[in-house]
C-alpha cells in the first residue's frame, strides 16, 4: 500500500526499516514481514536491538502500574500446569526445545556420532550404562557445546561452536532451581574437558539439572558466580 522506495530514491535502508519496526508504525502486513525477518536475519535483528536501545529513553514515560495480584498465578498455570490437557504438556515440551534452536548442524552430527558410539560401547561391554547428552546452545550466540554426563556424575564437554574471544574463557556451570549456579570449571578451547558434578547434585534427577556456559574473563569468573553472558545452555537428555 505504500511505496517505500518512491521516497528514498530506490534505496531501502535496513536501519530505517528496523527503526520503523521498533517504533511500531508499520502497516500490518509489513510489520509481520519484518517480524519474521527479525527471527531469521541476525544482522537485521541486531539493528532492531540497537534501535530498541536508542528509543528506550522513552520507556520511563510509561510509568508503572501494579497489575492485579492474580496474574502471576495465571501465567504460571499456563506455563507450568501439570496437564489439564495433553495439548498443554506438548506445548511445554516444544517450548523447551527452543534451546535447540540455532544449534549448529555440526553438533547434531556430533550427537548422532556420539549416540552411535555409546550404543556400540554398550553392546560391547553388555553393561547397563546410562549416559546423557546435553547440547548447549543459545539463539543469539554462535557458541555451542556438547556435554555427556555419566551415571557417576562425571561430565565430558567439548566445544562444537565458536571459540571464546581472545582474553576470555568459557566456564561451565550447573544450575539447579533455587540455588546459585555452581561452577564446574573452565571449558578447554580444544579437545574434551573432564569434570564432575558435586555429589549432592549428581544424585538429583537429571531433568532437574541445566548445564550452561558463560563467557568470563580469562581464567574464569572471579566471583564464583557467572559474571558474563550465558552463551549456551541445555538440558541432559537420554539418547
Amino acid at each position: 500500500m505504500t511505496d517505500v522506495n518512491e521516497h528514498d530514491g530506490g534505496e531501502r535502508d535496513d536501519d530505517v526499516v528496523a527503526a520503523e519496526y521498533v517504533l511500531g508504525v508499520l502497516p500490518d502486513g509489513e510489520r509481520g514481514e519484518v517480524a519474521r525477518r527479525v527471527e531469521e536475519d541476525r544482522a537485521f535483528a541486531m539493528r532492531v536491538g540497537a534501535w530498541e536501545e536508542r528509543l528506550a529513553g522513552m520507556n520511563d514515560a510509561f510509568g508503572e502500574e501494579r497489575p492485579p495480584s492474580d496474574i502471576l498465578g495465571k501465567i504460571e498455570d499456563r506455563l507450568f500446569a501439570p496437564d489439564p490437557t495433553q495439548k498443554k504438556a506438548n506445548a511445554g515440551l516444544w517450548t523447551s526445545l527452543i534451546f535447540w534452536r540455532g544449534l549448529a548442524v555440526a553438533s547434531f552430527a556430533m550427537v548422532a556420532i556420539l549416540a552411535g558410539t555409546l550404543v556400540m560401547r554398550d553392546s560391547r561391554t553388555g553393561l547397563p550404562r546410562e549416559e546423557l547428552v546435553a547440547s548447549l546452545s543459545a539463539a543469539e550466540s554462535d557458541a555451542t557445546f556438547l556435554a555427556v554426563k555419566a551415571a557417576d556424575g562425571k561430565i565430558r564437554i567439548t566445544r562444537t561452536g565458536a571459540e571464546p574471544p581472545s582474553g576470555r574463557s568459557h566456564e561451565l556451570w550447573v544450575i539447579v532451581a533455587d540455588r546459585d549456579p555452581i561452577s564446574l570449571g573452565l571449558v578447554s578451547p580444544e579437545g574434551t574437558t573432564n569434570t564432575i558434578l558435586p555429589a549432592d547434585i549428581a544424585g538429583l534427577p537429571d531433568d532437574a539439572l541445566t548445564l550452561a556456559v558463560s563467557l568470563e574473563p580469562a581464567g574464569g569468573s572471579p566471583e564464583g558466580k557467572p559474571t558474563g553472558p550465558v552463551i549456551a545452555a541445555g538440558h541432559l537428555k537420554k539418547i
Binding site: 521498533v22 517480524a35 530498541e52 501494579r66 502471576l72 527452543i98 532451581a177
Partner: protein, 181 residues
C-alpha cells in the same frame, strides 16, 4: 526500579535456564513496568491484563535470546511488551477505525509524562527528539508510547500516508545522527 540492571539480567539468564523462582522474581521486579506499557498502548484494563499474561509467557520462552553483554535488560523486556501490545492493538483495530475514541484517551502532545520522567538516559534521547519539529517529535512519541500506526498518525496530522512516512523516516535518521554525535 529497586533492582538494578545486573540483577534483572541475572533473573533473565536464570529464567532461560528454566529457573521458576527466578522467573517469579523477574515478574515481581518488572510486571508493574510492563503492565503500564500494555495499558498505555491498549488503553483497556482487561485487555492489558490478558496481554500481560502473554508477555510473560513470551519472556519465559524467549529468555534464552537475551543477549546479555551491554544490552539493557529492562529495555529488552519493555520491547517484548511493546511489540506484543502493538500486535494486539493492530489485530483489534484492523477492519474498523476507532481512532477517535483512542485520541480522546491519549493526546500525544500532552506533557505530563515528560514531567514524570527523570533518568539521564532519556534526557539525551529527549534532547534529540526536541530538535525535531513539534509535529514530528509528537509523532515519534505517539508512535512509541501509544502504538499509533503510520495511517493513524497521518490521519491525526491530516497529511497523506506517504508524507507521514517520509517525515518519520527522516526524523528517525536525524535521531540516529543526533544520538550518535
Amino acid at each position: 526500579m529497586i533492582d538494578d540492571a545486573a540483577d534483572i539480567a541475572d533473573m533473565i539468564a536464570r529464567t532461560a535456564l528454566r529457573d521458576r523462582a527466578a522467573f517469579r522474581r523477574l515478574y515481581d521486579a518488572s510486571s508493574s513496568k510492563l503492565f503500564a506499557v500494555a495499558l498505555r498502548i491498549l488503553k483497556d484494563r482487561t485487555e492489558a491484563e490478558d496481554a500481560l499474561q502473554d508477555i510473560y509467557v513470551k519472556i519465559w520462552n524467549r529468555a534464552d535470546r537475551f543477549a546479555g553483554g551491554g544490552t539493557s535488560p529492562m529495555g529488552w523486556l519493555v520491547a517484548i511488551a511493546r511489540n506484543h501490545s502493538i500486535d494486539r492493538l493492530r489485530a483489534r483495530r484492523s477492519g474498523h477505525s476507532d481512532i477517535d475514541k483512542h485520541a480522546d484517551i491519549a493526546d500525544p502532545g500532552r506533557s505530563p509524562e515528560s514531567e514524570a520522567i527523570a533518568a539521564s538516559e532519556r534526557s539525551r534521547l529527549d534532547g534529540c527528539i526536541e530538535q525535531l519539529d513539534d509535529a514530528k517529535a509528537n509523532s515519534v512519541r505517539a508512535a512509541y508510547l501509544d502504538g499509533y500506526s503510520y495511517q493513524e498518525l497521518a490521519d491525526r496530522h491530516s497529511v497523506p500516508l506517504n508524507t507521514m512516512r517520509t517525515w518519520l523516516r527522516r526524523s528517525l535518521i536525524k535521531l540516529r545522527e543526533c544520538l550518535e554525535a
